[in-house]
């Protein structure tokens, strides 16, 4: 490909990526009331977890610390849920609307397609996670005098790259099983958080689960964000390098898995069928 050809292709890809973000903005606007209803559910769900800190009768400072740690876990669960939901629904939603074939026959690379979906999911998820965090913190009355919010947000953004890669792997599931594939994305999300110490330290888990925790990006996101919010710690390289390493592996692996799934769907006529 010539330099001019490569530049034209890159331009086309960037416009396509913008198109995916644009479409999601339209959809968020159209479903805004449903999104608000879902936000209420997420807040209620998070409250049920964070109130546990009140029930264990600890000294006030310890209770505040526990509530903060639970809140960070619940918020990251919600954030990850949004990323998985958006990326997984790359296929599921388009199949439901019937647009999937038009998207898949367009001259846009699959990596741009998935990145566009992932990029919007991260932005949208960060907004929702921030709202969730502060609403629940205010409701419970959590004090965070030392919190380093910038570090927490930055670490979550770094972790998002790995989350997108894993989301891409999960997004292939609706291609393989139109009926149940999307739900399996939630299974992947739950399993990842279960081994990552979402509401408890990784050290309380059996050895084999601790070994799996080391390759889960959520482990480092949770550890780093808790340190930033509770103790005001900055971004620790010990959390960043595993996240970058996992991202470097997860993104290409996610793309390869998705392409294989797409090929399978095209061989077996599963692209169109609605579940």
């Amino acid at each position: 490909m010539t330099t001019g050809g490569a530049a034209a292709t890159l331009r086309q890809e960037l416009i396509g990526l913008g198109g995916i973000v644009e479409r999601n903005v339209y959809l968020v606007k159209r479903y805004i009331l449903w999104d608000l209803a879902f936000m209420v559910w997420t807040i209620a769900n998070t409250l049920t977890i964070v109130f546990i800190a009140r029930a264990v009768h600890l000294p006030p400072a310890r209770e505040n610390e526990l509530a903060t740690k639970l809140l960070v876990g619940a918020v990251i669960w919600a954030f990850l849920g949004i990323i998985f939901e958006f990326v997984t629904e790359t296929v599921a939603w388009e199949r439901w609307e019937g647009t999937i074939e038009y998207t898949f026959m367009a001259p846009l690379s699959r990596s741009t397609h998935l990145f566009g979906q992932g990029a919007f999911a991260v932005l949208y998820g960060l907004v929702r996670a921030t709202i969730l965090f502060f609403v629940v913190a205010a409701f419970i009355g959590i004090h965070m005098p030392n919190a380093n919010f910038a570090a927490a947000l930055a670490l979550l953004a770094i972790a998002s790259i790995s989350f997108m890669g894993i989301g891409m792997m999960a997004s292939v599931l609706p291609l393989i099983s139109p009926e149940k594939g999307a739900q399996l994305g939630f299974v992947a999300q739950g399993m990842m958080l279960a081994v990552s110490g979402v509401y408890y330290p990784v050290s309380v888990m059996p050895g084999w689960m601790q070994a799996i925790a080391k390759i889960s990006p959520a482990t480092y996101a949770l550890r780093g964000d808790r340190a930033a919010i509770v103790s005001g710690a900055g971004i620790a390289w010990a959390d960043v390098w595993p996240l970058l390493l996992i991202a470097v592996a997860a993104i290409p692996l996610g793309l390869v898995i998705f392409r294989r799934g797409e090929r399978y769907a095209k061989q077996h006529g599963k692209l169109k069928r609605s579940g």
Binding site: Y31, E101, A106, P107, H268, G269
Partner: protein, 288 residues
């Protein structure tokens, strides 16, 4: 249509020295569960059997066939949505199964289902679709109203959610979506099925107009024989995955010594065109 350059000028991957479509011995099979043979048994179900044909540039060819005959499978294979099991297909010289990106630049499609994000408006759906073809907002801002006007879509409904539009209106937007990207090969898969007579005539008139004003090659798959006869230069008959003929209508009638395409279908297959199809046809229809 004036907003975008003519396809032959804008698209450097169109090879002028080759036919628009060359299909040779194309085969596609799907696997289905066969409970009679065992719980996990599967059997192969041919959807296309050794199909061979050529479409010249600028031609309009209609492929007739009942539900489950393999028409949609053919369209999906040519639009890179299915992978073949045998044979080959070339579009303007590009291999449909190994040069997908080049093919996607050249082809667009209108199918029986309008297929849009239902909560989004016609303008929003077209904007989104155009971005995938590298068309920025500065280009679509003027093109979308123009093309919607051209297909007869009322200007005051451009911002209305698709779910509030009639099927005929939705199909006009589908045509606009396909033409927005100036495809050099337009695949029409039952574009008028389910439309009321007036909408059907409007869509057919629009297809004629596209042929007259656009340098597009058209493959029309339909089970409407009158539509095929009215629009196409040549008519083919796909029956249970086999292409029985592809000729000008007059030649078809002469070959079978009949006066209508319905009679030609009967002469070629021994069945009445609208006759109930069998279980295998239904299966092929689900996947195709």
């Amino acid at each position: 249509m004036s907003a975008r350059a003519a396809p032959e000028a804008s698209n450097t991957s169109v090879r002028r020295d080759t036919p628009a479509v060359e299909v040779a011995h194309l085969t596609k099979e799907f696997r289905r569960r066969d409970r009679r043979a065992g719980r996990f048994a599967r059997r192969k179900m041919p959807a296309l059997k050794d199909v061979t044909f050529t479409i010249e540039r600028g031609e309009c060819v209609a492929i007739l066939g009942q539900n489950g005959s393999g028409k949609s499978t053919l369209v999906r294979l040519l639009s890179t949505l299915l992978i073949n099991d045998g044979g080959e297909a070339r579009i303007f010289g590009h291999d449909a199964f190994h040069e997908a990106r080049a093919i996607r630049e050249l082809v667009n499609r209108v199918s029986v289902e309008a297929s849009f994000f239902k909560k989004m408006s016609a303008s929003e759906n077209l904007s989104y679709a155009a971005r995938f073809y590298g068309m920025p907002p500065s280009q679509t801002r003027h093109m979308i109203p123009e093309i919607l006007e051209k297909v007869g879509f009322p200007a005051d409904r451009r911002r209305e959610a698709m779910e509030n539009l009639s099927r005929g209106m939705q199909q006009k937007v589908a045509l606009a979506r396909a033409l927005l990207t100036s495809p050099v090969l337009l695949l029409l898969d039952e574009p008028t099925t389910g439309l009321d007579p007036r909408s059907k005539l409007e869509v057919q008139e629009f297809i004629r107009d596209v042929r007259a004003t656009h340098d597009a090659t058209i493959l029309l798959c339909t089970h409407d024989m009158a539509e095929a006869e009215a629009l196409a230069d040549r008519v083919g008959l796909l029956d249970r995955g086999e292409l029985l003929f592809l000729e000008p209508v007059a030649d078809v009638k002469e070959r079978y010594g009949v006066t209508t395409l319905e009679e030609a279908f009967f002469a070629a297959t021994g069945r009445v065109f609208e006759e109930e199809h069998d279980e295998d046809d239904e299966y092929r229809e689900v996947f195709a």
